[in-house]
């Protein structure tokens, strides 16, 4: 039975780890975009 | 884009001759590869010290793993020199078809690795007291097909990993997974011959299939890889 729970937990740990990595990358990207926007004057001229 | 066969063969011959001449003159790469192969054999022999019966069971795997490592070292060398002298850019602009270049490189690598194997084999036989119980002549086509399997993919992936960071580690990273079926076939075929228990025929057929499939794939895709930018 322990193996059953271990397998199900492992599955979700792997998926959640990947999702956390994605979310972190998204936040890093967001802050990078904000920095870019700050550094630039009004675009398109 | 199709060239008369004579021209293609001419390019292959010229490139191959150039590579062999360069290697012979420099001798650096040959010497270091030879010594590396010797070291590999010695280290393996220290690590595994089986009796004659056991050694026939495991020698197939040991020998081919040792050849694989030696081949990887040899393969990294050959393209690195091209890159140093910007020969690669010259190849890209030249009208010579990319396939000829690839075949020439692969054949050159094949000769180098075959020489390494010819030198390592007697040492293995000596250290492991090997004696083939099956038809020993079959070991020659197995060695040839197996070496070509490693070399053809290795040349392709070496070219691929040229412009990558961590180039030296990229080659084995890319090569080993793709080589697994060939490795399986080589090891099982060699073990079958050494132990004399089974027929190596199926494995030889598998190796031939692998070689044909991947040689065609390499030839078709090499041009794209060479011009990728």
């Amino acid at each position: 039975m322990n193996f059953l729970y271990a397998a199900y937990s492992a599955t979700w740990i792997i998926h959640i780890t990947y999702l956390v990595i994605l979310v972190r990358r998204y936040h890093n990207l967001r802050s990078e975009i904000d920095e870019l926007k700050k550094g630039e004057p009004a675009p398109g001229h | 884009m199709s060239k008369p066969p004579g021209a293609v063969a001419g390019v292959i011959q010229a490139t191959l001759a150039k590579d062999l001449r360069l290697e012979w003159r420099s001798k650096d790469a040959i010497n270091s590869m030879l010594f590396f192969s010797l070291l590999v054999v010695v280290v393996f022999s220290f690590s595994f010290d089986p009796n004659a019966e056991e050694s026939r069971q495991i020698a197939g795997g040991l020998v081919w793993v040792a050849f694989l490592f030696a081949a990887v070292v040899a393969l990294s060398q050959t393209w690195a020199r091209e890159l140093r002298n910007q020969v690669l850019d010259a190849y890209r602009v030249s009208p010579a078809p990319a396939n000829s270049l690839f075949l020439a490189k692969a054949l050159g690598n094949f000769i180098f690795v075959a020489i390494l194997e010819l030198l390592m084999t007697p040492l293995f036989i000596m250290f492991y007291k090997l004696r083939a119980l099956g038809p020993a002549w079959q070991l020659i086509p197995i060695a040839a097909l197996g070496t070509w399997a490693i070399v053809v993919n290795g040349t392709f992936f070496a070219a691929m990993s040229l412009r990558t960071r961590s180039r030296e580690i990229m080659l084995p990273l890319l090569l080993f997974p793709v080589c697994i079926p060939a490795l399986l076939a080589m090891v099982n075929a060699t073990t079958a011959i050494l132990t004399g228990e089974l027929s190596a025929k199926f494995w030889i057929v598998l190796l031939t299939t692998y070689d044909v499939v991947f040689t065609i794939a390499c030839l078709l895709l090499f041009e794209l890889v060479l011009h990728a930018e």
Binding site: M1, F3, L4, A6, A7, Y8, A10, T11, I14, H15, Y18, L19, L22, R25, Y26, L29, E32, I33, L36, P43, G44, H45 | N153, M160, S161, R163, T164, R165, S166, M170, L173, L174, F176, P177, V178, I180, P181, L184, A185, N188, F202, L206, T209, Y210, V213, F214, A217, L221, L224, V225, A228, E229
Partner: protein, 301 residues
Amino acid sequence: MKRQAEGDECGHENCMKRAFPIFAVLTAVLLSYALYEALVAAPTEQTMGNVQRIFYYHVPSAWTAFLLFFINFVCSIQYLVRRDKVADSIANWVAIVLGVAACAAAVVIRPLPSGVEPSSVATTGLAITGLYFLVKRYFSGSRTDALALVTAEVGVVFCTVVLVTGPLWARPVWGIWWTWDVRLTSTLVLWLIYISYLMLRRFSASGQTPVLAAALAIFGALDVPLVYFSIWIFRTQHPQPVIGGGGSIDPRMLHVLLINWLAFLCFAALICWSRYRLEVLQREVEEIHAMKGLQDPRSSG
């Protein structure tokens, strides 16, 4: 023309943005339901007991991973043939022929190998053709490459799940953590190839990455069937334990299995969608950086 496309994109994207949370909630509900079915409602297996329930997570993850890798393969092919009209039409025809052949085989070939249903053969064939043209229609140009990366990454995640749950199932039931049987070995090789694929993408110079990665995916697609076939022949000569052996399945278990597969497919679609948007955003940012790097005073949108 670009403005108009942007306008269409914005409308399309807003619609997608609204759909995402709804889809996410639906998927969560489906996953919970599937979990309940797997752990509670499904009948207990006779010989293996409750541990057999790992099957409901192991197999759908495997099928999802294979589907994702197949999409990656389709993207790689399309990326490589996009410039060459002849190769492109050859690829189109191959995709069509495969679908037709699979349907024909399902109807004509009797008897099929054990465990293989005619309907699954036909569905697989049609799925191959359908996926090929769907990807072509909705992900063309540089988006092909982005989709390739996304499916490779998410595929590796699902494949990792397969390789972790497999041994966890094998150990209590068959007493061994691992065996070199057909399916496990092929899955391991597939996983290794795609890890090397991801490493190649990470380490190569940005201009060439799509082509090199596509070439590697083709090699992988040639390699894995060879592994499968060679071990299959070898093992029929030397039978060894087969994890999750074939044969028929109780219809109630099949029902739970399919529910879990649907749930994981939706979950995979969600992750791929998010990852895809992240990738597109990332490429835009990189483009901006690159343009800034050029310091071209004429640069505008």
